[in-house]
């Protein structure tokens, strides 16, 4: 079973040289720590920045320079600032090559729910609905099950949806899966995790085709 940093590390393998990438809050943010050698990507933050850099050194924080998670950050050379309309404009126009975000539930058809638990939690969708409706390449970082051990990879989502038919791939603590026309397709399993465990913890339709390799980092 992967920890959060290992999930981020595996997600980083989805990056390609020259990609513009939007990383959501939580595990996706950690992906920035694992960008492979020799690959250059530009991080987009939907509050109006291309070319997000690492956190600032202590004492160098600038309240006017934050990411979409409201964290103080820095910029890298070649960065640019713009307003929120242009930010979501480039997202809607498909200029962002890869979007990685978290999810509470994903369905076997690629629906995603991550913004609301009726009666319990209403934080709002932020930019997630725009991102999932627009990005051509959406990868979800999530735990395979909830704290009670129930699968979060479902036949259909139970929670209010963020977007429909949009998720292309999932990297969970247990596995890497594609979303195909036939359902979840198991691609890789986490080190030490058996195919049987993944099958048991995936409620939606799961395709297991041939030998499933262990993830490489």
């Amino acid at each position: 079973m992967l920890n959060k940093n290992q999930i981020a590390q595996r997600l980083a393998k989805e990056l390609q040289d020259g990609f513009y990438v939007n990383l959501g809050i939580g595990i996706p943010t950690l992906v920035a720590n694992y960008i492979p050698e020799g690959i250059s990507v530009v991080l987009q933050s939907e509050n109006g920045l291309l070319g997000m850099g690492p956190f600032p050194f202590e004492g160098e924080e600038d309240a006017d320079l934050i990411n979409a998670g409201k964290q103080t950050i820095t910029t890298v050379p070649g960065s640019s600032f713009f307003d929120s309309a242009m930010s979501f404009g480039m997202i809607r126009a498909g200029k962002v090559d890869l979007t990685i975000l978290g999810a509470m539930e994903v369905s076997e058809t690629g629906d995603i729910a991550n913004w609301k638990i009726p009666g319990k939690m209403v934080k709002g969708m932020g930019g997630a609905m725009d991102l999932v409706a627009s990005a051509k390449n959406i990868v979800v970082a999530m735990m395979h099950t909830n704290p009670k051990g129930e699968s979060k990879l479902l036949h259909r989502c139970v929670l209010p949806l963020t977007g429909i038919g949009c998720v292309k791939k999932i990297v969970s603590d247990l596995a890497v899966l594609d979303i195909t026309n036939e359902g979840f397709k198991l691609l890789e399993r986490a080190p030490g995790v058996s195919v049987e465990e993944i099958i048991a913890k995936t409620a939606g339709k799961l395709i297991v085709d041939g030998e499933i390799p262990e993830m490489q980092f």
């Binding site: 202590e58 309240a63 006017d64 409201k70 964290q71 600032f81 930010s87 977007g163």
Partner: protein, 233 residues
């Protein structure tokens, strides 16, 4: 024609109960601190506030929520505010949560004289309920209307006496969009300079969109998530 005011109280003196306000900022970054404090002091009631976030409990729009000045909140994300959640769950506060890009683009539409725009955000979700749907080139979009707000209240870095504005870094966010979208636009800036001092090539909001400007005082610029690297890292 003079656009320059002495302070927030003067710039906001005709804000009235029941007004619809656009309030700039993302989180606590680039929010019009002086204006919000002046509205709290003035105790204007029954406001509709359109803003990406609702501040935190004791700063930003959170202060207006504490005083129950807000009738309705239109925002994309409100997850940092216990008082907000309380008023929402108790039904005291009307809330319309909308996608962030939709919020931004509905402001832009108002500023650009476009009555409505199409966006795919929210298709197939509860955001789409009751909305007109249209397919272009095999992709489904929602029709979303331009905001119709009485006042836009924004924060910029520098401004000149003609109302031209320049924002700093990610404190830009929704501010230029809201500045374009108000029937009356009030800008508070860290520094007002005489017209002619700002490079015309670098203006983010042309003065035609700005009706009142003043130099704000004592910016706190509170940081919500202070994330740092230690020098040793």
């Amino acid at each position: 024609m003079n656009k320059v005011f002495n302070n927030a109280d003067e710039a906001l003196k005709d804000i009235y109960d029941g007004a619809i306000l656009l309030l700039g900022g993302f989180g606590l970054c680039g929010i019009p601190e002086n204006c919000i404090n002046a509205i709290v002091k003035k105790d204007t009631k029954n406001l509709t506030c359109i803003s990406n976030n609702a501040g935190v409990d004791d700063f930003g729009i959170g202060l207006m929520l504490q005083k129950k000045q807000v009738k309705k909140m239109i925002a994309s994300y409100v997850g940092e505010n216990a008082e907000f959640e309380r008023q929402l769950l108790s039904g005291e506060l009307e809330v319309d949560l909308i996608p962030q890009g939709t919020l931004a683009t509905r402001c832009m539409a108002a500023g650009y004289g476009m009555p409505a725009i199409f966006t795919p955000a929210g298709v197939g979700t509860e955001v789409a309920i009751g909305k007109e749907v249209r397919i272009f080139d095999n992709k489904t979009y929602l029709l979303e209307y331009a905001f119709d707000a009485d006042f836009a209240i924004v924060k910029a870095w520098k401004g000149d006496t003609d109302g031209n504005l320049i924002y700093k870094a990610t404190a830009r966010n929704f501010n230029p969009l809201m500045a374009m979208a108000g029937k009356i636009t009030i800008a508070e800036v860290e520094e007002v300079v005489p017209a002619g001092e700002l490079d015309p090539n670098q203006i983010h909001t042309p003065g035609i969109y700005v009706h009142r400007i003043f130099e704000g005082k004592n910016y706190e610029k509170r940081i919500e998530q202070r994330t740092v690297k230690k020098l040793a890292d």
